[in-house]
Symmetry: C2
Subunit: 212 residues, 2 copies
DNA sequence: CTACTCGTATGACGATCATCATGTCAAATT
DNA sequence: AATTTGACATGATGATCGTCATACGAGTAG
């Protein structure tokens, strides 16, 4: 380590960073579509344009990749999901997020979909390290949804938790089912339920100042 | 193949049936706690008191076991979950089911827990065969919840779908998270949300109107 | 120009897996 | 009593996996 500042200036460091980015992209996508242990290092590195041996120049173990790729998926996906805030009320924001989440396009795009839903069962079976990372990203998402509308409001956080549970469960069920008809029905019904929860949250909110 | 009727009367057939039952029990439990492909045949058969080779006297492949064990888990678990009907109203029934589902005991008992939640991510990645089985069991559960209260009612089925999505999502999130505090909060919040949905369903069933 | 650094490629290791061929022995049939 | 059946055990096969030792080669520093 000659100088810590030129890490991004040298050609070699830039090449390694590009490789790392490809590994993270491939890892995040494959783990969401094939599971934490279902995504193997060999095919993953091949997708990244490298061979399996090069993996250990970037991560000491597969578990470390799982942690990094999971967070990487949210770092790149969260801004796309939340978008710029232009909703007029708290209830409207919750409804809009449910619409963005519970639809056919998101359901069918497993590699780029929400990691909370795609890796929920895997996280339940994973070690405490991964679950801590899962919780960290979940808390960040809850904050990102709630903060612009109700900073530090516990009731609004509860609203968001319920909405996310409904969305994660609805998306998971719609994916687990075989027939297109039932799958679409699940998505539609959960959207309606999300609207019901959002309206109920609006009337119950102890701090109604920010909404409307 | 002398007589097809005495298959259950002979000592050998009874022994095989007992072995099959142990394999199904072990398979259903291990697949819920370790995943569809995470549960290996070797350890599974050892838990059933047999060796790995004996497996193929009962199932032609591991996939066939997955189908049978998944259904087996519901055949033995559904009566325990639904219990005898003694609720006075549709909303009360939905709330009671949410209470039975969204609690610490169910969360921590992964091997005997609800297969919909434990295998949701796995089903999304599985082939159409397993997803068809998943859908079949889901439809049976929806029917078993709804039928005693609203036979053939589409609105009641929608209520049940939304409740199950909320329950599956809430339980999955509570398992995927590291800290006990957040996990319990998720369960509590989702119980409250389930009650909100149940009340909204009650007012919607008898009197049309409100929001959609 | 020389020596060193280090990301990557190659190949191998042991472990684990699903699957199957073969042997064995008790129960069932004749 | 003799024969057949079939559930189960044993062991092997080939595939796949994570991990690592080693070697190469381009970039960097002196």
């Amino acid at each position: 380590m000659s100088s810590p500042t030129d890490r991004t200036t040298t050609a070699r460091a830039a090449a390694k960073q590009a490789s790392l980015a490809r590994i993270l992209d491939a890892g995040a996508a494959r783990m969401r579509s094939e599971g934490l242990s279902g995504a193997a290092i060999g095919p993953l590195m091949q997708e990244a344009g490298l061979t399996h041996g090069a993996f250990y120049a970037h991560f000491p173990s597969k578990n470390e990749l799982a942690l990094a790729a999971f967070s990487h998926g949210f770092s790149s996906g969260r801004p796309r999901w939340l978008g710029r805030i232009r909703d007029v009320s708290w209830a409207a924001r919750l409804k809009r997020l449910a619409q963005r989440y519970l639809n056919q396009a998101h359901r069918d795009n497993l590699p780029e979909s929400c990691g909370f839903a795609a890796l929920a069962s895997d996280a339940a079976r994973a070690g405490p390290q991964f679950r801590e990372r899962y919780e960290e990203e979940l808390r960040r998402t809850l904050e990102a949804i709630r903060r612009p509308f109700a900073d530090g409001d516990d009731a609004a956080t509860d609203d968001t938790i319920a909405l996310m549970a409904l969305c994660v469960g609805g998306l998971s069920l719609s994916r687990a089912v075989a027939s297109e008809a039932l799958s679409m029905r699940i998505l539609r019904v959960c959207q309606t339920a999300a609207a019901t929860l959002a309206d109920a949250a609006d009337t119950q909110d102890s701090t109604p100042g920010k909404s409307k």
